[in-house]
């Protein structure tokens, strides 16, 4: 069987991540994930909202990547168990998905050996009227109604869930900013329902400037580590403010 492979767009966030990691020919781990974070965010940024079917999934993974990146730049950043779990989880998913992708290639290969076909239908079939007891007008109507209820419906354009997820990304950023400015102790669960209606472009810009901020903070960290005092960092970041791009 031939398979029709579209190579143009990325199917989802994991698909994109794998492509970015493979481009660099590195193993999948927190280091390589941190390395591709900018590329990943740049890719989302380069696309219009309408180009991406699964924007909310892309953004959700972006928030985990930001965590990984933050941790790689600031090794002393305390992660909550939930955060660590979301990082480990992303790593596992990327690995499993990549395995599935390689298996898919092999399946395409074996299937080129030919399709197999069932026995053809025979015209002379012995037909005898054989109703069954569950065949009542009531049952038939019940099933018809069940089917009507479950007919495929066109998907709503902007599901609520998606909006909620995008807001939570802003929260991740805000929260991490706060933590760098204070003492890095805050649970991942504590931010949730702040309302914000920033559009996508703005939201991605926030991530990019945040990552840039982290780079600057990292430089501060190098200096601060000489006397091993976390509070020095927060002083540094306070003085920097949010850079404008």
């Amino acid at each position: 069987m031939p398979f029709d492979i579209k190579t143009s767009a990325y199917e989802g966030p994991l698909d994109l991540l794998i492509a970015l990691i493979e481009k660099r020919e590195v193993f999948i781990n927190d280091i390589s994930l941190a390395q591709v974070t900018e590329d990943y965010i740049e890719y989302i940024n380069s696309l219009e909202e309408r180009d991406i079917d699964n924007m909310s999934e892309f953004v959700l993974v972006a928030s985990t990547l930001v965590l990984i990146k933050s941790k790689s730049l600031l090794p002393k950043l305390d992660l909550s168990p939930e955060e660590q779990e979301s990082i480990d989880d992303l790593e596992t998913r990327v690995k499993k998905y990549r395995l599935i992708k390689s298996l898919t290639e092999k399946i395409i290969e074996i299937s080129s050996g030919g399709e197999s076909f069932p026995r053809g239908e025979m015209k002379k079939q012995f037909i005898s009227f054989a109703p069954s007891k569950d065949m009542s007008v009531e049952n038939l109507l019940t099933e018809a109604k069940y089917l009507i209820e479950n007919l495929p419906k066109p998907e709503p354009k902007k599901p609520k869930v998606m909006v909620e997820k995008t807001i939570s990304l802003n929260d991740v950023i805000d929260d991490l900013k706060n933590r760098i400015q204070s003492n890095f102790k805050m649970s991942f669960n504590e931010y949730s329902s702040k309302s914000s209606t920033k559009d996508k472009a703005e939201k991605v810009n926030v991530i990019i400037s945040f990552l840039a901020l982290l780079e600057l903070v990292k430089q501060g960290t190098v200096r601060a580590e000489q006397d091993e005092d976390f509070k020095d960092i927060s002083i540094e970041t306070d003085s920097l403010g949010v850079p404008t791009y």
């Binding site: 009227f129 054989a130 069954s132 569950d134 018809a144």
Partner: protein, 179 residues
């Protein structure tokens, strides 16, 4: 020798995939071998199937696979089992689509149910609950309608007597979102 075996396998596969008898001329055309060679190879296929559950039947002009005569009892048992089993949810679902939507194509039934309905449709056919007709809109396809026996069994004289007929029929048309 190699080639005879290959032709034998091809003929076996073709007869199997056809279900119905095939003309020897057809077998010759598809395999690209002479009718003479096809006939000879039918002889060796027959021998290969000696003492098996299926056998080769052929006349001068056509050939077909069939179950061996000793298997009659067990095949009958299977048939009885298939037609006496309760229809179950899948069967009732499919029958209700044929009743409320008939004449209806298999692909529309699949679309409404969201799963492939090949097996369940064949079961309804051999039980005489639904009938298959040529699709007036597409000569190569079929449409399914309920049988007169089914209506009689349900105690109605026409599908229009089914409860909420017009309403349900319309709803089941669906919006036919492109799949």
């Amino acid at each position: 020798m190699e080639n005879t075996k290959k032709l034998e396998n091809q003929i076996e596969a073709l007869l199997f995939a056809s279900g119905d008898p095939l003309l020897i001329t057809t077998l010759s055309k598809i395999t690209g071998e002479s009718e003479k060679l096809v006939k000879e190879t039918l002889g060796s296929l027959k021998k290969s199937l000696d003492d098996r559950g299926i056998m080769l039947i052929h006349t001068d002009s056509e050939a077909s696979l069939s179950t061996s005569p000793e298997m009659e009892d067990v095949v009958k048992k299977l048939h009885n089992d298939e037609i006496t089993r309760a229809l179950g949810k899948a069967g009732i679902e499919t029958l209700s689509i044929v009743l409320y939507q008939g004449p209806v194509t298999k692909s529309h039934i699949d679309y409404i149910r969201g799963v492939n309905s090949a097996f369940v449709l064949r079961n309804l056919l051999i039980r005489g609950l639904v009938e298959r007709k040529e699709n007036p809109e597409n000569k190569r396809g079929f449409v399914y309608v309920s049988s007169v026996d089914t209506l009689r069994y349900l105690g109605i004289s026409s599908v229009k007597d089914l409860p909420e007929y017009e309403e349900a029929r319309k709803s089941l048309e669906g919006e036919l979102i492109n799949e």
